[in-house]
Structures are given as structure tokens and as C-alpha cells.
Symmetry: C5
Subunit: 369 residues, 5 copies
């Protein structure tokens, strides 16, 4: 299990700034690991059929907006700065927003611009072997949205599937509902990951209680770190959604507002879960330390019991093993020549050992605890 | 006692999401352990007598509402999605609310819809051997309420008994008062459970002080976990009730408002209790660690006292147990042949032991602490 | 001192609910240890002289209110539910308030009703041997107050004495000033108790620094528990007074308002004291643990010093105490027959012991720390 | 250094109430250590020259106010209750304020009365050997201020010097500026004391890292206590100044307002410093414990290394020191009579010791850490 | 790595007040390490070309302001109080602000004056060998800014480079945009330093897990201290920027407002990073302590295992090494003359040792953990 966990360690660039300090605002800098940029379209409503596929020529976009009621421009990979700048110009995105998109190091936030809402959230990309956190930047216009993400795979596939299926709510609602569906999918993707963490914690708890072995500390520590990272990413989402709900924007309909409130509840639940996992991890570390402390006590008690029982008789045996010449004077070890010397000596040893045992018993050190 | 406690460990699905991430909002998913759905009615007021019993045909509901002043539709078991959807249509419940009801993983909250208030709280179901937390979802309409819970047994029986008895406040008041009575019963059910935890803590405290044995750590830890779970369930109830009181809704009369304020006070008291229990558990862990640390110190002192007293004389005995040939030269162990060798040797041993004892006494290690 | 403290351990029913969960609101349940109810009057102003004494017939009350400008109905013992209900009817107290009075498990709070303010605070009843926390429930009407408490002795005697003395502010002011005087007396009664705790902490601190003996842990722990209980009782009083001051009520004059502000300051000071005592207790536990840890280090060092000095020479002595037959071959212990065997052997022992001492000295273990 | 620090231990009466609980509000009680009261005047502006000196007759005050534009009545020592009451009457101070002045146990606060602002702050009186906290009570009127303090020496001397020098801002501004100057001097007096604490902490840090000896714990603990006391005194000053700035009072001019904002910044800085010192002290305790824990580990390792190397060979030596009669049978210790018995025995001992050493080396216990 | 870190230890005067307590407000005191003051100009816009260079005569300033649209007066070194006072007079800076500039010990803040905004932030000056925190004081006027810093080198060089380059946003925008650019550069300079700390923490984490050696504690402790210092400097910047954004000032255009919001997000991210680093450092210390505790347990177990196995047989060997005279009586050590004495004795020893080993095995102490 440990191995799996290590493999799935959260990869996160830890808010690493790409733009050098003091650069002009709006400067776009390509991340060293940025992948090629592909732009996909997904548009429906109006008289035209559902349009889906890669957009080779960005100038199609304007036409797309005109022909459909709702469009979703879905950009993956942030490596082609020229293309991104062109897209920014076509969609009239603010230079600062575009910088935030490209540097991909933003805190979740929502900002209101003249024509659009700019929303940043961080999404979990969970595969069997990796668990990465990626930035999802979304521009919400009146009748279309533009999303940006740095990798190909994401957690939005179910949303796209619902759109393709047709004849459901998402096909009949506006861009605001689409934006909600994306946010909802991103937030819901945290649940299975957190449930996995919950199971890891229960598993660790059982193992700590059974045998507090040294390797567990590192595992608990790693878990704590992962939770710190998750918390830092999720915490501002709560605030972001709260802002979105509180400061009602003309684009957002009443019905979508109700759905966003639901999203907000989910975010609160995720935060509740992370907070109690963190608390449990802390308690687990305390539990571990207490158990180790107790075990050490146990070890010390065994050593002390054995030592205190045997050290005094061993001393006596040492005394009568001395080679003083009994023939020189009657003061030299007369016991050795006494008829009952040996039995008396053994008796003395036994008496001492028994009184030590009685003392230890009275202290409760001979009872197993 | 421990056994009982283990048996009564809190079972909670830990906000486990049923709906897969990205599913359309309002998708109902049956929980794997969902039980059959039964719908009960309880209606009174108007010219008809008190109506109680299972509702076989959901279409009776509309008629029920018309014939009585106040009705309570009481749904138990969330396994029959078809029935639930039908009920949702009849009572005009929002799809999202219905999803929250079925997934039964909601944070306590209150939401205002056009025709009703939707309230989620979590209720303790305590029997002799189990202690489970279930979601109670309640829709408060102008003249009826609809409640949903996942199991048959609950803590609302006293409320129903009061309704059956007739001729009391609850029979003369409206649906808002009924809703209050339900909330009150749910919150009050926390008190006996928390009092039980209070007694467990006192019990543990006494046992830790008497003998800090190793099994206690696991018990304290389990208590801490249970309190974290309880806290996570109770904490948002406070907020929920506060919202209910602050944002006065037309359905809620002034008199019920006063009663809800009382409920809110009870929730605050429960939170106070949980917070101080958590603090006490933390202090208990510290106490345990201090006592173990102290016991170890004690053990070490006994070992050190015995060792330091006997090790030097044992060395001397060893020296005079050596077999150097005294006849070869006068340098070889002349003491052995000296007339007072043995008494002087014993004297030296005693002198060393006594000076060690004096040293230990001066350090205060021979006084019991 | 410990004994005294144990005797004075805080007794508190820990918000124990009397009414069973789900009971109708306003149900009065007699506490198992409730004492007989006596109702006292204290009224002045108007043309009649000061009226004081037990009220045998509750119907006198109405007359009392009419004849005097200010009246104080002072109820002690909550055992006679019939009498309390009768009093509630005469004074027109809300059923819910009366339930709060009788169950005596309320969080401090202030509630506004149509004709009166209902205030609950918790008062310390400190005698030489006990320290209990009791609930004081007070109904503040325009020209009279009604107070309820569960026992005979309280901390309000000085207020009554001031009333009896006559010709002072309290005799000339209204019921609002009387209510203030009662609150002030209750809050001020916390000061001497907290000062006692302050002295206990200083005393403990001195004893921990002098000799961190095991019994001190239990004392610190008990102190921490008492402070948690006190805190839980005092903390909501702050909020309660703040509400009373902020939401100005027509009964409360400007002058009384100033006095209540003073009360509020006192409550803040009490909270400050409790918080810093709690912090100090926590620091004290850390101090204790550090000192024990240090002592253990000291003990271990002595054991290690003695052992490492004597174990190697003892081994050498053991070697030359072996009985190999030197006559069989020249390889068998030739040292025994060497002329300088013994002195060289002793020299070797001394050399080893000295080099160990030098090593230990270089590590600084021979210096006392 | 320790000695000096002990001498300078903060003396504070810890909010000790003088007035007995339940006493009438406004009751003045003389503190047991109260010193004689002297009243000084300092007045300027108008046609009269600067007036300074002790006020023998309090009735001069009215005249003083009339003749000068700004006056400062400076009362030191709170022992003469009669004089204080007389002063209170002349200056029309509220009875409750006067009680707060005399009991000298107030939390810093500002209260608005009809004619004046009543301000309480706590000032540090630092001499070479003592460090005490005293209450400074100030009544700010339109054209004069009245200050009260319990001792002769204070930190306001520089303000008085500036007034005497004449021809500067303070001589040309009003009473509000004078009040600001006093507050500023009181707050600035915290800086050198806190810088001293900062140096103590750095000093302690260096000593802990060099040699974590036992006496340091007590020093860290004392520092922590002092910081708790300082924090409790400074923290409410922030709130007090904030209230003073927010609730603009007609006496306070715009210019003084700017100066008060500066004062508020200083208070924030002091709180920042105390908070980070407290954090550092906590870290220091952790550092200490880690180092002691490490040292103990080191000690245990030496003991274990020596013991495990020598115990097995010593046992072998003991075996061949036994006196079984080899002549009785060939089973009795034939090794003793074997020609190579001794060298083989020594070899066995060496082999065992070396394998133990190899084992310990593989565990890394022979490398110094 | 440690050495480098030591060299780069954060130097900070820890808010050391220069002005003595009680000094008149506005008193300028020269810091002991203050360097010579140089005043530079950087002005553009209008008909004149870009003006850059040192300002020899401060009277040129007025002319500079008239000839250019935007000017930046850039003062470095705070040693020449006369020059600073003259500059203050020319630019009409408030005396209190100037005191704040010179004492260079301010908390980050923004203050609104009649003609200008006064902003204080603290900037990191990072070179290869040092890491210092300096105060940047900035006066923002309608068409010029004045900045003060205590040293020559700063993190604003990229901003100046952008100005020199010409034909970009900064050359076409007003003084408010210039101020934003300066703030942005200061805040962005924290990122590389924090990333360095992040790497240090990861490095330390790996080393602690590999071998928890004693020197690491001091490193973790130093890291914690540095983070406390950084936090104290960054935390109020958040508040400052928030104030700047919330209280919209006429100078600040809408566009700059958007840019400042971006700055504010960066400050939040820095605080997030510091908070999680602090948490990780705390966890690291716990990890260290757990590992040391575990190691000690391991050491103790080895000692106990060896001791308990060998102490009892050694005692038996001691017994049969005693020299009681077997010829005196048949009670004296008859075993010595028994034919199977020796093998039985060895067998007994082996039996005891094996049963001890079995006992230890059953406790799990022989398995490596």
C-alpha cells in the first residue's frame, strides 16, 4: 500500500512564479514543462447541430459564437504563447488574466471584468499512478465560456458526455449553467480522492494500534503534508464560490444560483473532511508517540527487574569467589570452611532476591500492563 | 465497559458521495445499503379526525392536504427511487433537494425555495448496541412537512406520541411548530449521548490517574475520534439554526421563532460540551504521557541505584578472585596472604557502597517521589 | 493544600438535561436533588415601608407590586413545581422561560419577551469547603425583578444588605438598577475565586521548579479541568452582557447602561485571567515534562558513567579468575605465574578506567548540569 | 544575567479587586500598599505664565482652569481617599470612574462621558532593578486633563520636559494633543523593555544550542510568563486606541487624530513583537526538549555499546572461573586441562566482542551523531 | 548548505525604535548604521525627454515636476537628516510621515493625507550572501512619487529598466501605475526567496527521514525563526493592500485598481506559502522527535535483550566460582564434585537463556522494527 501511495504523491508546483520579479504586468512566460496547445470547440443551440472538435483556425471562433447559443472553447496545454495571445485578442481577455492563465500558479479566485467573470480553481487530476493538481482557468461570458488547463486529461469528461448526449438540462440552459457544471465536476472530483485518504488514515490507525513500528511515522508525516497541500488548494475555493454567490452577476440566472449554492455546500463538506483528517493525523502522531513511550517503559521495566534481582546475589557470589588465604588467619573468609557456609550463602542470595521481587511487586512492576 | 463502547462505535458514512463526479445535478443514486421505502401519514386539524398510517397510494396525499390543517408525510428508507421521484413530483420538491435527500451525505443546512424551506440536520440514532448518525431531511411547507430518513428507528417517537395524545399545543399549532418540534427532538437526542461521553471521560480520567496502563491510550484516542465526528455533525447545525432564526420566513410565526431560539441555545450547549470534552481528552493524553514519563523515571532510578551500589564492590570481588600465583613473587596479590586481607577488603567494599549511597541520597534519588 | 483543593472541587451538573428528549416544550421536570421552594419578598419605595420576609401566599404578590415602587421576588430551591407554575402564572412568565429556570442547565443568555427581559447567568457559590456553580435566572420587569436559584446560600447577600440599609442609590433607583446590582454581585464573586486559583498556580509553579514530583501532575491536571469548567460558564456571560448593552431596552436607563458597561469590563477581565491561567497551566505542564526529562537524563548519565568505568576492568578480573590449568601447557594463562602479573594487570585496569573517564569528561558528562 | 532578570521580574497585582464583591458601585477602597497622594499642576497658555508645582489647596483648580488655556492635573499616589473624592467633586468625575481609578485594576479602555473621555492604559515603570506595571487613568476634558497613577516615578518626564521648554507644538496645541503626548510616551516606553526581552531570547537561544543545561528551562518558562503578563496588558490598548480613533469625539482635532493613528501603529508593532517572542519562546522549549532527547539517546548508546561488548565475554570468563572438580569425571570442565584452552577461550571472547562491534557498527551506533 | 544559510540569515532590526520614548512627535533621529543620502530623479512625459540622474540641488525638484508628466524621486540612504528635512519641506511631507521614513521601523501600512497617500512596505534585499529586510516608504502624489530606502541596492531595478526602455505601458500611464509597478516588484521579490525556503524544507525533510541527526534540530529551528520574521513582515502587507483597494482614492484609476487586486492576490499566495511552510516545519520537528524516540527505543531493546540473556547465567557461573571448602562438610557445594556437575550446570544456563529468549521473542523484541 505504501508503494502505491508514494507513486501517487501529490505533484504540485507549489505556486512557483514563472514571471521574473519586476517584469511588466501581463508578461507571458512559458513554463519549462508546458505542453503543446490544442484548442477544442463544443457548441450547441441555435439552428446548427452540435459542433465538436479541434479548432485549427482560431478565426473560426467568432463565427462559432454567432451560429450557436452556447459555446465552450476548451484549451489544453499552455506551451504555445503565440496561439494563446491570439485567442486572448479574439475573445478580448484582459492581459492580466491571460498572465494568470499561463503562469498557472494562481490562488483560486473570481474576478469581475467588464464583459466576463474570470474564475480560477484548482482541479485534481487523479490517475491510477499519479495525483496532480492543475489550474483550471475559466472565462464566463454571456453566451460562451473559455477554459484553460495545462494537461490533456482532466475530470470534465462526464460533463462533455452529458452535452453530447443532448436532450437534457445542460443542452437547454445557458453558458452560466455550463460554467456551473464545470465547477461542480471539478469539486466533485475531490470526493473520491478524499475518501481514499480517509481509508488510508483508518488503515494507518489500525496498524499503529497493532504495532507502532518506525516506518509508520514517515507515512503519517507524508499524509499530513499531502493534506496541507490539499487544504491550501481547496480553502480559497470556498471563498471564491461564496463571492460568486454573494455578488450576483447579471449572467447568472436564479436557477444556476441555486445550483452554485449546492456546489458551495460540497466545498464546505470537503473542507470539513480535510480538517478532520488533519486533526486525526495529529492525534495519530500523538497516539504513536504514546505507544512508543509505553513500549520503552515496558522494555526498561524488564531490564530493571532482571538487573535488580540478579545484581546483588552476583555480588555475593563474587565475594565468596575471592582467593584470600584462609590459612593465614582466622579473619580471612572463615565462612568458606564453615560446614553450612554454602547453604547459608545460597539462602542469603535467595532471601535478597525474594525481597527485591517483593519490592518490585509492591510497585506493580511485575504485573504486565 | 470498553467492549460496550466498541460496540457502540459511531457508524457514519463520512459524507460518502454516491453520485459519481460530473453526473448531472439531480441524478438520484441508490445507496448500496438503502432499505425499502415506506411512506407514513400523520394529519390532523380541520373537520376530519387524526389520520395516521402507511400511505399505500401516493396520490392520496393531495386529498390529505386538503382535508387536514396540518400534515406530516414521514418517509423512511431511501431504497425505492421511483417512489421518491413520484413523491417529489406530487409535493413539487426541487430536483437538487431530492438528490440531497437520497445521497444522504449532506452537511446540515437550510435553503429557501419558492414554496418551502429545505432543512437538513443529522440525527443520532442510539440503541443499546449501536450509535449511528443519520440524515434527516425536512421540507417545511405552509401547512405540511415532509421528512426523509434512511432507517426505520429514529428519535422522533416522542413527538408522534404527543400528536396522538391530542388536545395539546402541537395539535393546535401550525406546520411551523411541528417542524420546530421535530428539530427540537433531534437536538435533544444528543444530550444523553454526550452525557454518556462525559461519564466515559471521567471514568478514563480516574483510571489514568490510578494506573496509566497502555490500553487506555487506545481508548482515549477512540474517544477523540468519536468527538471529531460528532463535532463535524453538530457544528453546522448551529449555523443552520442561526440562519433559520435570522432570515425570518413568512411561514414561521413569532411564537415558533421564540421556540427555535431555545433550540439554538441547546445546540450551543452541545457544542460547548463537545469542545470541552475535546479539550479534556487532549489534557488526558498529556496527563497520560506525563505519568508514563514519570514512571519511566522511577524505573530508571531504581536500576541506577542498584547498579551504582553493587557494580564497584563486585569489581573488587572480581579482583581478589583472580588466580595470580602469589608464590612466584611478592608483587602478586600479597593481600591474599595478609592476615586482615579479607576484613579490609569487605570494609573497602562497604565504604565504597556507603559513599555511593551518600551521593545518591544527596541527589534525592533515594526518596520516593 | 491539595486536600483543601479536592474538597473544593467544582461541582457542576455539566448541563445535564432533565427533560427527556422529545418532551413537549415547557415541560417542567423536578431535578433529583431539588430542594424545597421558598419565595421571599423585598420591596420598597412608594408610601409603604420596606417589606421583607417569606411570602406564604403567592397571591400577595400583585398587591406588593402595587404598593411599592420596586419589588424583588427572590425564589430559592426549585423542588416545588406547583408553586413555581403558580408563580409563573401570576407574573406572566413564558412557559419556555420557566422550563429554562427549572431545568437549571442553561447557557448564560439574555432573551427579550414582550413584558420582560429574561436573563440567565451562572453564579459561583463559594464556601470554605465547597465551590459550586448555580444558575441564577432573572426576569427583569419594568418595576420588579424575579430571581430563581436552586440553593439557599448565594453571593447576593451584600446587595440585600445595601437595600436594607436604605438611603442610598439602590433604594432610589428603579428595577433596572436592582438587576444591575445583582449581576454585578454575581460577576464580582468570581474575582476572589480566581485570585485563589492564581495563587494555586504560583504555588504549583514554585513546587514544580523546586522538585518536579509525580503528584504535581494530577494537581496541574485538576486545575486545568477546573479552568475549563469556569471558562465554559463565564465565556457566554460576556456575550450576554454585550447583547444587553447593545440592544438597548426601554427599561434600562442611561445611568444603568453606564453601570452595565462597567460589569462588562469586569467580565472581560475575568476572561482575560482565565485565559492566561490556562496558558500558564499549559506552560507548567511543559515545564514539568522538561524537568522530568532532564532528571531522567541525569539519572541515565550516572548509570552510564559508573557502568562504563567498571564493566571493562571487571571483565579483566573475570579473565584472570579463570581456572585454566597452567601446568598443562605454557599457553594456559602464563600471566598468572609471571612475577609482575598482578601489578601489570591492575595497571591495565586503571589505564582502561582512566581512558574511559577521559572520554566521558571530554563529552562533558562528568560536569554536573 | 539571570540574577538581574529575577530582580526585574514584572510585579503586577494581576487585576486584584480591592472592592469586596457586592459592594455598592462607586465604593472607594484604599489599596494596602497605597502611598500618599500628591496633586501637581502644570498649566500654560492664556496671559499667565507657565504654572507648575504641587497644589496644596484643591480649590485653586477652578481658578487654574480659568487663567490658562491648557492645564494638567497630575495626581500621584492613591492613598488619600478624602482628597481624591474632593478632587472628583471639583472636576465632576463620575463615581464609577473614580472607583476604577482607585482600585487600579482596570483593563485598558476608553469610555465616553458627558463632559469628558475616561481613558485607562497600563504603563511600564522600568528602573534598573524593577519592572512594574502601573495603571494610568486619564480624564480628557475640553481644555484640561487629569491623570492618576499610583507611584511617584513614571515614564512621562520627557513630556513634562517638552512642556517646560516652551515654544514648541505641545505649548501651542490643546488638551487633546497633550493627552496624545501622554499616551504616546506610555506606549513608547514599552519598546526598550521589549528590545531587552528580544536580546534575552537571542541570548537564551545561543545558550540552549550550545549546551541545553537544566537551568535554562526555568529561564525560558519565566520569560514565557512575563510575556503572557505583558500581552494581557498591551492587547486591550490596541482596542482602546482603535475605539478612540473610530468614534471621533468633538474634543479631538483632525491633527491629533493623525497622531493617534501613529500611536495605534506603535501599539500594533508592540503586539507583533510580543506575539513573535511568544512563538519563539515556544519554539525554544521544543528545541530544548529535542536537544535533551538527543543527548539522552547519545548517553544510552554509549551505555549500550559498552555493555553489549563486555557482557558476553564476562559471562565466558565466569564460566571458566567455576570450580567444578575436573578430577571427578572427564565431563567436568575438560577445557581447563586442555593445552590450548586459554588461548581458544580468549579467541572466543574476542570473536564474540568483534561480532557485537560489527553488529553495532552496522546499526550506525559507533558513529558519533 | 548550512553554512550558506547561516550567511544568508535574515538581518532585521526587529522594529528597533530610534526615537527615545517621550520625544516630540516628528523628531528625526539618525540610525547608527545610516548611510549617506543620495537623491535620484527619473521623470518622463510632457515635451521634455526622459530625465534621469542624481539630483545635486533639491530645488530642481519643483521644476522637474512642472516639466514632466510623471516623476519619481528616489532617495537612498537615510543618513543626511538635513537633506531629508529639506526634501520634506519641498514635497510638503507631513512631519510624522518623515519620522516614520527615517526611523525605518514601521509596520507596513497605508495612510491617507490631504495631498498624498503614504505607504510603507518592507522589501527583501537578497544577494548571494545576505538576505536583509528594508523599509520602502513611498509617497504617492497625483503626478509624482517619492520613495525612500536605507540602502543602495534594491529589487526595483527591473522597474527602472522598463521605464528607460520607453514605449510601453509604464511610460504612458500615470503616477498611480508607477506606484503599482513598485509595489508589484517588491512583492514579487518574495517569491524566489520563499521557493528557496521551500527547497530547504524538502531537503531537511529528506535528511531527517534518512538519519535524524542532532545538527538538524538547529537547522529546523533556524528555519522556523526566519519564517516567523518573514511572516511578521508580510502579514500586514495584505491588510495594507486591502485598505488601498477598498478605500478607493481619487489618484488611483480603475485600470490600476485591477492591477492592485492582482498584487493583493500575490500577497495572499505568499502568506499561504509561509503558513504551510510553518506548519511543515512544525511537523518536521514532530517527525524528528518521533524518530529519535524510536531510535532510543531500539537502543534500549538491544541493551535489554543482551542483559537479560546473560545476567542470569553469569550469576550461576559466579555461584560455582565460589571457594567454599567442599571437604569440610557434604553441604558445601557438593555439585562441584558431582560427575555431571559441569554439563548440568551448562545445561541449566542454556535453559535459562533460551527461556529468556523465548520470552523476549513472544514480546516481539527480537524482530527488528
Amino acid at each position: 500500500m505504501l508503494k502505491l501511495r508514494r507513486k501517487r504523491k501529490i505533484k504540485q508546483s507549489d505556486y512557483k512564479r514563472l514571471t521574473p520579479p519586476g517584469a511588466a504586468p501581463g508578461t507571458l512566460v512559458k513554463a519549462p514543462d508546458a505542453t503543446m496547445t490544442t484548442v477544442r470547440k463544443l457548441a450547441w443551440g441555435g439552428t446548427s447541430p452540435l459542433a465538436e472538435g479541434e479548432l485549427e483556425d482560431l478565426n473560426e471562433i467568432q463565427q462559432l459564437f454567432e451560429k450557436h447559443l452556447v459555446s465552450w472553447i476548451d484549451v489544453r496545454g499552455l506551451g504555445d504563447l503565440k496561439k494563446l495571445r491570439q485567442l486572448g485578442d479574439i475573445c478580448k481577455l484582459h492581459k492580466l488574466s491571460l498572465e494568470d492563465v499561463v503562469s498557472a500558479d494562481q490562488r483560486p479566485k473570481v474576478e469581475e471584468y467588464e464583459n466576463y467573470l474570470f474564475l480560477v480553481i484548482r482541479m485534481l487530476e487523479s490517475t491510477d499512478t499519479t495525483l496532480a493538481i492543475d489550474q483550471l482557468s475559466m472565462f464566463i461570458f454571456k453566451d460562451h465560456i473559455v477554459t484553460f488547463q495545462s494537461t490533456e486529461n482532466d475530470c470534465l469528461e462526464p460533463v462533455r458526455a452529458r452535452i453530447r448526449k443532448g436532450k437534457n438540462r445542460i443542452r437547454n440552459a445557458g453558458a452560466d449553467y455550463l460554467a456551473y457544471a464545470v465547477i461542480d465536476a471539478v469539486i466533485d472530483a475531490y470526493f473520491p480522492v478524499l475518501e481514499e485518504y480517509g481509508q488510508k488514515i483508518e488503515n494507518l490507525e489500525a496498524r499503529v494500534l497493532e504495532n507502532p513500528e518506525s516506518s509508520l511515522i514517515a507515512e503519517i508525516h507524508e499524509l499530513k503534508r499531502d493534506l496541507i497541500v490539499l487544504r491550501r488548494n481547496i480553502w480559497p475555493i470556498r471563498e471564491t464560490l461564496n463571492n460568486l454567490i454573494r455578488d450576483r452577476h447579471p449572467f447568472i440566472t436564479d436557477e444556476t444560483q441555486i445550483h452554485l449554492r449546492d456546489c458551495y455546500d460540497h466545498a464546505l463538506r470537503i473542507i470539513d473532511m480535510i480538517e478532520s483528517y488533519r486533526q486525526t493525523c495529529k492525534d495519530l502522531m500523538d497516539l504513536y508517540l504514546s505507544l512508543v513511550s509505553n513500549k520503552m517503559n515496558e522494555v526498561m521495566k524488564v531490564l530493571t527487574v532482571i538487573s535488580t534481582i540478579f545484581i546483588p546475589p552476583t555480588f555475593i557470589a563474587g565475594v565468596y569467589g575471592m582467593n584470600f588465604n584462609t590459612e593465614v588467619s582466622k579473619w580471612n573468609m572463615p565462612e568458606l570452611n564453615s560446614a553450612l557456609g554454602y547453604p547459608l550463602c545460597l539462602g542469603a542470595m535467595a532471601a535478597i532476591a525474594l525481597s527485591v521481587i517483593a519490592f518490585l511487586y509492591s510497585r506493580g512492576w511485575l504485573r504486565s500492563s
